[in-house]
C-alpha cells in the first residue's frame, strides 16, 4: 500500500539547472580556499620546519597557526561540503554542540593531566 502521510524530505533538496550553477560556483570557491590553505601549510612546513626553527617562540606561533588553519578547513568541509550549514539550525546545533563539548573537554583534561604526568616523570631537579 502506498502511504501518503510520509513527507519525502529528500525531494526537497532537488534544484534546477540555474540553482545548480550557483552551487557549483560556491563549490569551486571552497575548493580554492581549501587548496590555498593546504599549500600555505605545506610551504610553511618546508621553509619553517621544526628542524629549522627549533623549539622556541616562533615554533609555538607556527603550531597555533597550523591548528587555526586546520579548524578553518574543517569548518568549510563540514558546513559547505557536508552541507550542514544549509540544514535547519536546530539540526546543526544537535550535531555540533555535543561533539564540541565532549572533545574540548577531552582535549583540556588530556593536556592538563599529561603535563602533570610529565612533571612527575621528569622533575626539574
Amino acid at each position: 500500500m502506498e502511504r501518503d502521510d510520509i513527507i519525502e524530505y529528500s525531494l526537497g533538496a532537488q534544484h534546477s539547472e540555474e540553482e545548480g550553477k550557483k552551487i557549483r560556483k560556491n563549490v569551486w570557491k571552497v575548493t580554492t580556499i581549501l587548496s590555498v590553505i593546504t599549500f600555505v601549510e605545506v610551504l610553511v612546513g618546508i621553509l619553517y620546519s621544526k628542524t629549522v626553527v627549533g623549539d622556541g617562540n616562533l615554533w609555538a606561533t607556527i603550531k597555533t597557526g597550523y591548528i587555526i588553519l586546520t579548524v578553518i578547513k574543517a569548518r568549510y568541509i563540514i558546513l559547505e561540503f557536508m552541507h550542514l550549514g544549509h540544514e535547519r539550525s536546530s539540526f546543526k546545533s544537535t550535531i555540533l554542540y555535543p561533539y564540541l563539548f565532549l572533545i574540548l573537554y577531552l582535549i583540556f583534561i588530556a593536556i592538563n593531566e599529561s603535563l602533570a604526568v610529565y612533571d612527575f616523570n621528569f622533575p626539574i631537579n
Binding site: 524530505y9 533538496a13 601549510e41 605545506v42 620546519s49 621544526k50 603550531k63 540544514e87 593536556i111 610529565y118
Partner: protein
Amino acid sequence: MAGEVSKAIDPKELWGGGRSPFSLSYGKMMMWFFLISDALTFGAFLVSLGWFRYTSDAWPISDQVFFHIPFIHSATPDEGFPLLYVAFMTLILIVSSVTMVLAVEAGHRNDKKTVIKWMVWTIVGGFIFLGSQVWEWSGIIAGPDGIFGTYDDTRIGGNYLGGWETINNVLVPVVGPDQYAQFFYCVTGFHGLHVFSGVIINIIILINVIGGTYERRGHYEMVEKGGLYWHFVDLVWVFVFTFFYLL
C-alpha cells in the same frame, strides 16, 4: 536551498509530531549520528596521541621521518623531500571530495550521466590515495631507506626511528619512542580502513546509479549519504595531516 529545509514552519507544527523536525530523512540523519560517533573515535585517537607526546621526554620531528618520495632514493632527511608526498595525498583527498560534491549536486538535478562521471572520478581518487598509503607504509617499514619498521632494526639498534643526530659530521638515525610509530600505524591504518570502506560504498552506489535504481526512486539521496561518509574521511585526514605530519 529550496524545499523543506529552508521553509519557515511554525515551531508548534514543526515539533508537534507527524513530521521530522529537522526536515531530514531518517537515513541522512542517522548517517550524521554515525559520523559523530566515528569522529569521537578519531578524536580520542588524536587526543591520546597528544597525551603521549606531552608525557614523553623526546618526540620525533615528522620531517625527519617522512621525507621520501617515489622513485628517488634519499637515505637521510638532508637528501629527502619532507612533506611533499603527504601534501600530494592531501590534495588527492580534497579533490576527490570536490568531485563527490559535484556528484551530489548532479544528483539533485537528476542528471544521471554527470553523477556517473563524478562518482567514477571520486573512486579513482580514493584508489590513488589508498595506493599512496600502501607505498608509504611499505616504504617506511621495509624500504631500502625506511627505518620505521615493526622489527628490530640493526641500523638503529631498536624498533623505531626517532630522528637523526650528527655524529662526526655524519647524520645517523637514533631510536625514538615506541608510541610514535604505534600511533602512526594505528591512526593512518584506521583512517585507511575508512577510505577503503568509503571506496567500496561508492562503488556499490555507482553500480546502483548505472543500474537506474535511484532514477526509479525519484531521487539520488543515497549518493548524498555516501558523500557525507566520503567527506568525513577527508575531514579526518585534514586533522591527521596536521597532528602527524605538520606538528
